[in-house]
Amino acid sequence: MTPTVQAFIGDVAARLGMVFAPDLKSPYLAGSAGLTAAVLMMAAEEADRAAHRLVEENRAIRGIFKDAVAHATSEVFADELRTLAAGEDNDLRISVLQAANNDLRRALIELHAAVERDPGPAARRLDAEIWSELAESTRRRAFNSVRF
């Protein structure tokens, strides 16, 4: 489908921010339009990358879970980790990928808390792996327009 969603939203954002907003008499509306334009620019970027970043992240967390079952604090949680690790993203709609991501990140919190309490070398390696993935998750979510 062309023009792409990203191109169209980006163009709307540029018009709103640079053409319409400066002509609005109300300072509040002008500020609001300018901010809406900035948010639309982010939406354009996200429209193109969202599926990719979610698939990549879900795959990375499943990879962590594959080696983490021994650190589960209960058999129920161990089963959950096995199930989540075996999951696949066959439906690439953003809403479905996001739901899977939420399940995975919720379990990652519980796993991380358990690993922190374990001083053993395997737990330390897993802890470092989790932190590395968390740092990577913020790079995936960063927008081009954001400096930090």
Partner: protein, 343 residues
């Protein structure tokens, strides 16, 4: 619910100005200001009992149907009023109205400080960027004055809970963790890890109980091209607590709008701390300050997840909420990772 009109506001003020006649309000306009209340600019004119015509630019801050943060306008009003006429420049507070019968929601009216800039990104370009050192010196000196002040002598213990030096951190961390619990719309593994670390490594007791502005950052003060600061604004999250809380919030990496390490777009971190220490007479113990800086990432995330929830619930569709949810939430996670040495 009727529209907010100049006539309704004039009617309210007329009842508060003893002996004044011919009270009019004109040039009513909503402006961007603060995240928790609707802010309006207006011009008041009236004939005083002595016969002279008085004109005064004012600001009206009214509670919205929903907001980023739940705050009490009487506390914000009291904080402004406490510092009026002191070394901490603030506008004069005029009327606080809790009864929604007048203008549909509670509100307060204050003097408008006219002719100054407040934009945090405005600090990054001339003529203001040429005065970054001077503005930064004033910014962190004024925060030192706030930290140095005695909240009991100011009477603020009558409207704000007075914690002990030992309980500041548990109260604040507990509050903001509950905000994350209540409002998160997706899991937050980074900030959850930060909360676990903060609980496992508590800070030392506060060296004193101070007034904490609660949102002391570039964007919440009025400045000019001479490098002077004329008003500290947005006291909506003011409370009593550890003075390092305010210092840590102002140093938060998410306010580095210039993309470099200058905090608030003004000064390097260590220079800001030095100025604050000199002005306050207090010490920013590195370990304690580190705790409060990381805590402020939790606090920030509490605000950003609440923004996302307010937008998703449809109670408030201001674009600032979506901006906060997308941009600030990730920046806050990165700030927390950096402080934990994991970025």
């Amino acid at each position: 619910m009727a529209d907010l009109t100049e006539a309704r506001i004039a009617g309210y003020i007329e009842g508060r100005l003893a002996g004044a006649t011919d009270v009019t309000v004109s040039d009513l306009r909503r402006i961007v200001g603060g995240a928790s209340r609707e802010t309006y600019r207006l011009k008041l004119a009236y004939t005083a009992p002595e016969g002279q015509r008085v004109e005064r630019p004012l600001i009206l801050r009214r509670d919205p149907p929903d907001s980023l943060i739940d705050t009490k306008r009487d506390i914000e009003f009291a904080a402004y009023a406490a510092f009026y006429g002191s070394a901490v420049p603030v506008p004069e507070m005029l009327w606080l109205e809790e009864d929604p019968a007048h203008l549909d929601f509670p509100f307060f009216i204050a003097e408008e400080l006219v002719g100054f800039e407040s934009s945090p990104t405005g600090l990054l370009s001339p003529p203001y960027s040429d005065k970054a050192e001077a503005i930064g010196l004033r910014k962190w000196t004024i925060l030192g004055e706030i930290s140095k002040a005695d909240p009991v002598a100011l009477g603020l213990d009558k409207v704000m809970e007075l914690p002990t030096p030992q309980t500041c951190w548990t109260r604040e961390l507990g509050y903001w963790e509950r905000e994350v619990d209540k409002d998160e719309v997706e899991p937050q593994p980074i900030i959850r890890a930060a909360i676990r670390w903060l609980r496992a490594n508590p800070p030392p007791p506060a060296q004193k109980i101070s007034v904490v502005h609660g949102d002391y950052r570039s964007g919440n003060f009025l400045y000019d091209s001479d490098g002077e600061i004329h008003g500290i604004l947005d006291w909506e999250m003011a409370h009593l607590g550890d003075p390092l809380e305010d210092l840590g919030w102002g140093l938060n990496r998410i306010w580095c709008w210039g993309g470099d390490d200058r905090r608030g777009g003004l000064l390097p971190r260590e220079r800001a701390i030095e100025i604050w220490e000199n002005a306050s007479g207090l010490r920013a113990d590195p370990a304690a300050l580190h705790w409060w800086e990381l805590f402020n990432c939790v606090k920030g995330q509490g605000i950003w997840v609440s923004s996302a929830k307010a937008w998703i619930d449809g109670q408030n569709r201001d674009p600032i909420l979506a901006f906060s949810a997308w941009r600030m939430l990730n920046a806050q996670d990165r700030a927390a990772l950096e402080l934990m040495g994991k970025l």
